[in-house]
Symmetry: C2
Subunit: 162 residues, 2 copies
Amino acid sequence: MLTNSRIAYHRHDHKRCINAALCRAKELCDARKARLTPIRETVLKTIWASHRPLGAYEIVDQISQSETSAHRVFPPTVYRAIQFLLDQGLIHRLSSLNAYIGCPFPGNYHSDFFLICEQCGSTAECSDDQVDHAVIHAAGRANFQVESKVIEIVGICPECQV
Amino acid sequence: MLTNSRIAYHRHDHKRCINAALCRAKELCDARKARLTPIRETVLKTIWASHRPLGAYEIVDQISQSETSAHRVFPPTVYRAIQFLLDQGLIHRLSSLNAYIGCPFPGNYHSDFFLICEQCGSTAECSDDQVDHAVIHAAGRANFQVESKVIEIVGICPECQV
DNA sequence: AGAAAAGATGTTACTTTGTATCGTTTATTC
DNA sequence: GAATAAACGATACAAAGTAACATCTTTTCT
């Protein structure tokens, strides 16, 4: 099982997460000749500020209030950056929260699901063949041809359990 | 595997679906001393008009435009009815669509997922132990305690496949 | 039965999330 | 270096959902 749950739910040097994410993003975009412009990078960095999914308007506020960006940023700008990052597989959207989170292993194909802690909000991404197969098998029994999946598990992360 | 996919994706006498749903709703509410008021029943009936998930504002429009209801209905009224129906397990919310669909087997405990046809919109509900176990097992490996799940599969239903 | 409390609805106004549009700027290509 | 494509800034708007409060209907409790 591929997952960042060991990191996401435990104390760690988060700067390394951010650096790694930005680094991989640059590499990937470079290889694909996709343009990781300053705003796009800023949005990605803002999303990667923690392991908690961030709403689009939270991103707008964060960037608008930070000193580094001279002026206010508008929702469409952020949504466009989000769309780009989604297209590149650098972030994911959590439908149940209307929020966005950085992908810890972009590039590799992965059919993922998310473990959202209802206590602290921290969210880990997992990719597991068992889950994948179970879903495809179940769909197959209904003669349903799977194109994409949204799997979001809400519960309590190891750190928040008593 | 418990599912209504055989019905949902194929030609059938849909009046029987509607009747059955309303009948079970009455029974359940009766048993629970929950009040299935006229508006709540109207909303439930509107949602059950097809096997396609319906947005809240579509429900508002449908009811407002129907001859049976004398006057316009407001969003909060519909949202309140929706909340009641969700609480009673008579309908489900599809996060990825911001839409609502009738539950074909309310009352029985079921951990469900949905097969959403991207072509015709018809959506079937499934309940499968394999999927359930796979998810819980995967979460367990991350020491994550599952409370609830959102599983929504998008693809092509048997009827829409070439 | 009648008062009191609880539950449900009607209505207005508002918040949150997400887009269409258009003019301008910045890269890329030839 | 002009032409083209891609990205951004800004305004306005659409869609989804809720807070608040007045009113009405049930239920409950003497």
